[in-house]
Amino acid sequence: MNQFLIFILLTLLKIAVVTVVFLTAVAYTVLLERKLVGRIQNRWGPSRVGPFGLMQPLADGLKLFLKEDLMPSAVERPLFILAPIIALACALTSIAVMPYGRDIRWHGVDMFQIANINVGLLVILGVTSIGVYGIALSGWSSNNKYSLLGSLRSTAQMISYELALGLSVIGVVLRTGSLNLRDIVNLQATHGVLSWNAFGGVQIVAFFIYLTAAFAETNRTPFDLPEAESELTAGYHTEYSSMKFAMFFMAEYANMINVGAVATLLFLGGWSSPFGHLFPDFGGPVVHALLPVFWFVAKVFCFLFLYVWVRGTLPRFRYDQLMGFGWKFLLPLAIANVVVTGLVLAVHG
Amino acid sequence: MTPSLHLWLLPLLPLAGFVLNGLWGRRLPQAMVSAIALLFPLAAFAQVLWICTQVSSFALPHVERFATPWIAVPGFHANFSFLLDQLTLVMLLVVTGVGFLIHLYSVGYMAHEEGYWRFFSYLNLFLFFMLTLVLAANFLLLFVGWEGVGLASYLLIGFYYTKDSAANAGKKAFIVNRIGDFGFLLAMFLLIAHFGTLSFASVFAAITAHPTMQGGVLTGIALLLVLGATGKSAQIPLYVWLPDAMEGPTPVSALIHAATMVTAGVYMIARTHVLFDRSPAALTVVATIGTATAFFAATVAVTQNDIKRVLAYSTISQLGYMFLACGVATYSMGVFHLVTHAFFKALLFLAAGSVIHALGGQQDMRTMGGLRKKLPVTFWTMTAAVLAISGFFPFAGFFSKDAILAATYMAPNGGKIFYAVGLFTAGLTAYYMFRLWYMTFFGAPRYTEQPHEAHAGHGHAHGVHESPWVMLLPLVVLGLLSLAGGWIGWPTALGGNDWFGHFLAPVFRDATANVQLLHAEPSAGLERMLSVVSMLAAAIGWFLADQKYRRKPLAPEEPKSAFSDLVAHKYWIDELYGAVVVRPLLAFSRVALAGAVESGIIDGTNRAWTRIAGAGSNGVRRIQSGNIRSYAGWLAAGAAAVLLIVLYFAHLY
């Protein structure tokens, strides 16, 4: 009983900490993007609120929160409200199964992962797939042709790329023989970079596929057709404002972080050091516990940087190119990757 | 171990002729065809003669059989086996001898016919089957010959197949014979059922082994055989085909429908006499049929004007005599008459053929007359034959017919009546034969001397002329035989030694031993007296004919009377059969079967099923409304039904 209570309390604590950190990270990812894109476009980006514009996310949040919540008269009200909630909820759920540090137990509770699930990877995929509804419903319930078209595009795009994404991780799963994310990371932890799936595991192709599909899943450039301002005004966002818009906005950036985290876990050794056991542990138990968290955050940060970098660099795809790329290139490539990996594993077993 | 007589060769010789002519005759020159057609029967005849010379060194009956059986199933088998005894030998001589003569005659007669090769191949085929029939050592092989000669007869009657009447006649002959064969077949089934074999020797041995076996099944078998015999030998009630068979070429009539094939019935009864001896009822039936046929056919013959039809009815009548002889269990007499009849009737036909030939195909006696001078050879040979058939001493017919009448007179089972009718018939015979004789050869010529186109191929006949020597030679030979052929059976009562009777005696020995109706041996005096009486009857017949036809050769319209009308229309028998059997059968088939059963029941069932299926489909079609929700409902209902069955009716399966 006591044990159960402790478990509940510690879990609630973990959830609270992770959620706060995650939401903060989301907010600052927005800032990061604006700053970086500004630099790429040879301008400053936000710099007025706070030092280096560091308070800008707070100001943005305040603005959106205080803005009048417009409810267009023609919308399907329940769904119109439900859609951003679904989107955000799904975006925030995935983090629950991700390990972000060593398996260090306190009172028998793993402190660096909210829930260790045998089929953790599947949970992430499942939650991601549920997230589609947010976009789909928003477009439909808005009762606006731009919204509908945007959400149709987005839905089609997400369904299409989800296949490639799902297939790309199979190589990793094959190597590991488990769907447990900790198992996956542990396999990559031994020799640092050399044992990461992306490199030592020779899943570089899968990594590439995952990366591309992840861009598409999050509707980021160069796959940001659903909200292409110049064509669809703003896609499924069009009718949304204030907090509801903020939820979509947050969901998008949360998804970016999610995707980055998953990529880190699957391909880049997760919280493990890039040097593996090259350097013996230094520092005390605190360092021992927190250093993996640092590595994890650093790798995810690299991804976010990449996201922004790509956004600032690449042009947008045409819609048919997008579909063609997904179905005719990525999907066969992913299948080939699965086959090759399977064969290699079968031979070297 | 007796050396082989190579009996198998005997039928195969004509068969070879048939095959050669049948397959390639169309392309061979006529002379070649004739050579083939004559050579093989001649060879067969020669072999028969050779057998005659050898026969004293053989134990008769002599059986030869092939190593391989013909039919062999569990419980029954039949061999290709040939039997040679005195009876067979006599038949062989007649068949090959007379057969060869008629072949020879045909070479002249058919010389200008289309399908010459076909004719001779058929004739050879006939000989093949006839020899098979005669030689057969079991019922089944006999039946092969039996049907086979029927086939040959069918083909030859229908030789002029473009003539509807000829084709019809052939068909009629075959079918009527088939009715007889029906009896024959049933007889064989009975034999198999009761004896398990069809071999003559085994069957007869089985019968003689049981002295008490009499009547019953044997009568049944015998009567069925008689049915067969009446068909083949043109007796009442199945004689109707023979007059029509005169549609065939005349040599065919001579060979098949006078000398050989039609006597097969008599031969068969003689061959199976063991059966008949044990069943007096059957014998009585045979005698009755024979007498009735003899009389009846004679009366019809009196009124016929077609020369060949007169002879046809005469044949029927004479066959009746043979039946009568068999019916009174004097089989050897029957066979004797068979032999003499073969001589004179063949001669009569051939001579008639010569006349027809001379007249360019004319067969109606009313358009003949006065041919005595034009056709001297024909006339004289014909005269011999007429005297023979009428039974004038010392011609062949006298001996055989006289013997039959005498035996009949002595027979215990109603012989007197048979005798009386037979005697009257003898008179009638003389009457119609001399009528024919007078109408053909005497009086003023009534024919027109012009080429007749009616008879195909005789367009060349400019004027009436005697036939070529190939035709006359057989006439002469047969004329001599008609005169002297009967001497072999010269009865002891008239100072002879009845060589023929003694020769055949071994074959019929059982008959005299077992038969219940033992003849009282006629005294010589009685026999002499009977001869005189029958001669007298013949003379009366001649006298009446002379009165009527020599004096008034123009033969005015005969006075109409109900009887003469009846006779002139052959007692309306053909019409009777048509009305009683054929037409009702066809009507029954058309109305009851084709009308009621086939289109009513069978097709009706079809229609009914169609309607049921249609109605059912229509009902089911309504379910296929095309409405998805109704489908859904049916689906749900079906699922519910399955569920119910699974849950609550599980005990059903």
């Binding site: - | 079609r621 296929q624 409304s625 095309g626 409405n627 998805i628 929700r629 859904a632 749900a636």
Partner: protein, 101 residues
Amino acid sequence: MSVPIAWYLILSAALFSIGVCAFLIKRNIISIFMSIELMLNAVNLAFVAFANRWHQVNGQIFVFFVMVVAAAEAAVGLAIIIAVFRSRNTLNVDQIDLMKL
């Protein structure tokens, strides 16, 4: 606290019955299709419950096959629906009766 398997089964039966009912009374062809999916899911639940009861994975495997078939069915079915809609311009099953002779 343990839950009797029978309850799962009764829940499954309830879902199935509702599916059947929806199958019958829905008029939109897509809704009908969805009710079929509902029935399939109800059956799946029963399978999983039985798998638990007998501690056999085969029941679950069967659910996989059902899922695959359902996926295939959805793909083809929806394609058909799209094709039908293109030609008839309606989704009401009562108006889609081309199969009527």
